[in-house]
């Protein structure tokens, strides 16, 4: 059977996008976080919109059952935003939950059933102590065959890192340079969890040591700071603290409409022209440990649908839950060759904000934060702002961003979503 080329039944556009500040948010629950994102999104719609016209909600949420003892997040978000009795779906696909939600929203409009939908996600994670958060996150891998073997999420990605190091000679410094790059972007993002460069963090530690009258560490530069295990301890070797994204509270959402009505809301809609999604095996069952096969398949689907090639993409938000994940992502997306070229791209400045292929200009999951059920939609928020020239101090200015992409991985690669955006 030859499959016909996948295409949308009709065009879909984003006319609004917003997010809550990301970080440790002790006084709010998922519902308030989603409300913040909803209000921020509303403010971004140039000519405004009537919330009564939203016909359905798609809400990504990974684990409120575990973190808040609360399920039915779709209906609760509909209620708090005044959107009842619209149908509301809670969608769970681990860290890809909200990209799957966005994709389902796209499909809802492309199918012709709806003209306007709200899609996004929310996650409140900071309520549990670290050991329970480790447990909650590990539920995204195979409890029977992976977590029970002792694997945690930092551990699964660390294993991919050891395989990458063995196969390609990748060094830990290559990985740390991804963190340095993403922090230098996130430092310019007022909604980031840690809006600081690693050099800023280093200088804060020095200031603190001085203040407490302790011996003041003398690091030559941020790489030497990152090599100091007292300040950058191993979490799951070779992953150190600064290879890992933080545990973050946050929400994000976007307003999707049919292309034919998009100009009612703004002169600059962002069109979604490609979407792909794939599932994958457990890590040990894959033919490769140095790439995420589901991401390659999702990317291929999205490129084919959009009828463009990886070279056409100007900027991308990719899933850098751990530094090795960005190295694999930029190869799986076809931007760089798998192996040394991808591993050294950050160090060589190719993926910097002013590089040939800016990656994670928002700061990425690493610096902006990773509220798992909101992450994919937050990537789309960044793309929306960058493509419209609204990203403030972190705006990419050395190119016309007419095509962009987001890449969101669920768990350790058992789900992957890639979406391609166009500004006309």
């Amino acid at each position: 059977m030859t499959r016909r080329k996948r295409r949308f039944g009709r065009g879909v556009a984003i006319v609004g996008a917003g997010m809550s500040p990301f970080g440790i948010r002790p006084d709010v629950t998922n519902r308030e976080l989603f409300t913040e994102a909803f209000l921020d999104m509303g403010n971004s719609v140039d000519r405004g919109f009537d919330p009564k016209e939203i016909e359905a909600l798609y809400v990504g949420n990974c684990g409120a059952e575990m973190w808040e003892s609360q399920s039915v997040m779709g209906a609760l978000c509909a209620d708090v935003t005044g959107l009842t009795p619209r149908p509301a779906l809670k969608i769970e696909d681990a860290c890809a939950s909200s990209s799957v939600a966005v994709r389902e929203g796209i499909i809802g409009i492309a199918s012709g059933i709806y003209d306007m939908v709200l899609a996004g996600g929310t996650e409140k994670m900071s309520v549990l102590p670290t050991n329970w958060t480790t447990m909650a996150l590990a539920c995204g891998s195979d409890t029977t065959y992976e977590s029970s073997a002792g694997f945690t999420f930092p551990g699964l990605y660390a294993s991919m890192a050891t395989a990458h190091m063995e196969k390609y000679g990748t060094t830990h410094d290559d990985l740390l340079r991804v963190a340095i790059k993403n922090h230098s972007n996130g430092a310019l993002n007022p909604k980031a969890h840690f809006p600081k460069t690693i050099k800023d963090v280093m200088n804060m530690r020095i200031a603190k040591a001085k203040e407490k009258g302790k011996s003041v560490p003398s690091w030559a530069d941020e790489m030497e700071f990152l090599h100091d295990p007292r300040y950058n301890p191993v979490i799951a070797w070779p992953n150190t603290l600064f290879d890992c994204c933080p545990v973050t509270d946050g929400a994000a959402c976007i307003l999707l409409v049919a292309e034919e009505i998009s100009k009612n809301f703004t002169d600059t809609p962002i069109y979604i022209i490609g979407s792909g999604q794939a599932s994958g095996h457990n890590l040990h069952d894959r033919e490769t440990l140095t790439s995420i096969p589901a991401a390659k398949i999702a990317a291929q689907q999205a490129y084919e649908m959009a009828d463009i090639s990886p070279q056409d993409i100007k900027i991308a938000e990719v899933h850098d839950c751990f530094t090795i994940a960005e190295v694999m992502a930029i190869a799986d997306l076809g931007f760089f060759k798998e192996g040394k070229e991808a591993a050294t791209a950050a160090g060589e400045g190719k993926t910097a904000r002013d590089g040939v292929k800016p990656i994670n200009v928002s700061g990425g999951l690493k610096c902006k934060g990773h509220p798992v059920g909101a992450t994919g939609a937050a990537q789309t928020v960044e793309i929306f702002q960058q493509m419209r020239g609204e990203a403030g101090a972190r705006q990419v200015t050395n190119m016309d961003i007419n095509l962009a992409l987001n890449h969101n991985i669920g768990a350790h690669g058992t789900t992957a979503v890639v979406q391609i955006y166009e500004r006309r």
Binding site: Y145, A163, E166
Partner: protein, 144 residues
């Protein structure tokens, strides 16, 4: 052994007997570890249990100080980390397991390709409900 269903419970019962068992497709001979109820290569659901020789080699690994609760309860922590890895068994497939007998204090000395042998250790269960987490189970591990 065809009456034994291809379930997780069956696999775990074999571990209790210190046997590492896989499922083999009767039609295309594909070998599945962890065992599968359907051959995802030829889609046959006619499989049989086969015992593996327990030999393998390390293909990827990590050393963890901050583990999940069953590992913390088993005595592992930052000062006493453990190695988790992916093992390719001699018969072909790969599986995840704790790796014993490697230098967890110097993970840079742990070599991919290290030959390993299957073993079985008892630990608590993986569950959010404390009562269920207390249940002792036999787990597959590999040793140098």
């Amino acid at each position: 052994m065809k009456e034994i269903p291809f379930t997780i419970a069956s696999f775990e019962n074999f571990l209790k007997e210190k046997k590492l068992m896989a499922s083999r497709c009767n039609k295309c001979s594909a070998l599945w570890l962890p065992p599968r109820p359907i051959c995802i290569k030829c889609r046959s659901d006619e499989l049989k249990w086969v015992e593996l020789n327990g030999k393998g080699k390390l293909v990827a690994f990590t050393v963890i100080g901050v583990g999940p609760i069953p590992m913390i309860d088993a005595g592992y922590n930052r000062d006493n980390p453990y190695c988790a890895g992916i093992v390719e068994v001699e018969e072909g497939p790969r599986i995840s397991a704790q790796i014993l007998g490697v230098d967890v204090v110097h993970p840079e000395n742990i070599k991919i390709g290290t030959p390993l042998t299957a073993d079985f250790v008892e630990r608590g269960s993986w569950h959010f409900v404390e009562e269920l987490a207390k249940e002792r189970k036999m787990y597959l591990v590999f040793r140098v």
